[in-house]
Symmetry: C2
Subunit: 308 residues, 2 copies
């Protein structure tokens, strides 16, 4: 890999999955000067990129046939499997020396499986899930957690830097996905605490803004408390990050934890509670809609709460 | 209360409970010029304050008889009840216009009960628990959460400012304690997430410092992750904040949540897990020793872990 060079204007990129995240991320690479071939399940979501100069391809395989580096960011692990390992998938269109970079939040074990399959064809495979959401993607401020061959990861630096701000190599194949699991485990239990704390404060008759002033600067403080707490207080449960995507991530985390022989009761509780959030119709709300499900447990009608 | 003035060198303070927190906090008031009368269950822990000019009293009642303002910071709610409401307690020694300020983390309902008892004797009562631990107490950087009569709280400002940095009036009697419950609910669930995340990272074979670099700056970030995560990685489980004190706080939180008709599954899980932490012999370790109890569930011998 010492001979691999990634050069805007020369290295051809492919992009599979042009949803909210993918469209922003691919757009940054195009702006940086990379020529791009794109594919998405529904073509309409790729139009902006096509207008910016990208070429459309009808399948992930055709994307790979036109590209040196193939990025993907799709929905579920089953989608990852299809667009990379399927008969019309990217790997089938790759030549030796090409690189497949999956940025979907997906299973570490699937990342390892893809790496093995890729290696047998002389293709490099990198797992590089991100955190930071649609805003982080738009502002190129993502945290990118990267697994795979370190020399390849280093060679891809111009791409990482076009999309992210916190760029950390985590180890071999699957390690990027493992790091993302760590990230989601942290968010899962903390979100329970943030929601329960605000419900307690509400039910105790405290002024929610005033109690935030006491608890955010100290040992109880967190990103979720500071950033999502105020939205909950304002009854704003827009995503942010969709509940149904988080449920996918928690399922991956629990599966992998089981594979690793771990007992993680907080993670398990969180997954159960998010099932309730979805069952109550909040699947397309932000993850902080957990508050509404926990409120319903106590018969609290949060959206109609009176100011204290 | 508009005539109440709190003036160093003139207003006499009393201090009940000169443990690690209380000794630092009372010391700040003495340095500010307040004359102090002190009591502690074991006199030896008051010696430093006595050498700094404080007068010893044999009972909380005698403390109150010599003081205009009586502060207390003791162990359990039962201790608060004894040193304030007992026959040799502070209230028995108070005169009309005196102020009792309990800074113990205690029950909101007990704070309300004390306020009623005090009021019947023309005495003011304030609940003002703190967060920030022994370091926050020593450096006068505590967060002080205050409940009671606002005019009295305002008059006490010279005292608050001598001890704390984040000083927030939360409402009537008990509201300071309620705010502290909110603080502990936040810490409880987040600590589960931090410990489970590090265990997952370890078991997945990630480098723990490297994964911290990916997850601390973003949506998964928290005070506990940034401040206690590195200690866990270094196998340092010194307190910080004692497990057995946290168990007390979680018990108070669950009792009050029950009283308020709340269902808080994350808090309940946390309380159960901390029972395990104590049962495994970590009661006098820091709250982040939860990691060790969770590790034992998965048969992971964390103290003897090999570096990855």
């Amino acid at each position: 890999m010492s001979t691999m060079e990634v050069i805007p204007g020369k290295t051809r990129i492919g992009w599979i999955g042009t949803g909210v995240m993918g469209a922003s991320m691919c757009g940054h690479l195009i702006k940086k000067g990379f020529g791009a071939t794109v594919y998405n399940r529904s073509r309409s979501k790729a139009e902006t990129l096509i207008q910016a100069g990208a070429t459309w391809a009808d399948t992930p395989r055709q994307v790979a046939e036109q590209s040196d580096l193939v990025f993907s960011i799709v929905g579920f692990p089953s989608d990852v499997r299809e667009v990379i390992l399927g008969s019309d998938g990217a790997l089938a269109g790759c030549r030796p020396g090409n690189v497949i970079i999956d940025m979907t939040t997906s299973q570490p074990s699937l990342a390892e499986e893809i790496a093995v399959a890729a290696r047998s064809g002389g293709v490099h495979s990198i797992d590089a899930p991100v955190s930071g959401g649609d805003i982080g993607a738009r502002e190129a401020r993502l945290s990118i957690m990267i697994g795979g061959d370190q020399a390849v990861v280093d060679a891809l630096r111009p791409c990482w830097e076009a999309m992210g701000k916190t760029i950390v190599y985590q180890g071999g194949p699957g390690c990027g996905q493992h790091a993302k699991v760590v990230n989601q485990i942290l968010i899962a239990s903390n979100m329970i605490g943030v929601c329960e704390a605000l419900l307690y404060a509400y039910q105790a008759g405290l002024n929610l803004e005033t109690v935030m002033a006491s608890v955010t600067p100290g040992a109880a403080g967190s990103w979720s408390l500071s950033n999502l707490g105020p939205r909950m207080i304002q009854n704003n449960f827009d995503p942010g990050f969709f509940v149904e995507h988080f449920i996918k991530d928690l399922g991956i985390a629990l599966d992998e934890a089981g594979r690793l022989g771990l007992c993680l009761p907080g993670l398990a509780l969180s997954r159960q509670l998010y099932q309730a959030v979805k069952a109550q119709g909040y699947g397309r709300n932000g993850t902080h809609a957990l508050l509404l499900a926990l409120a319903s447990l106590a018969g609290i009608d949060w959206p109609n709460r009176r100011p204290h």
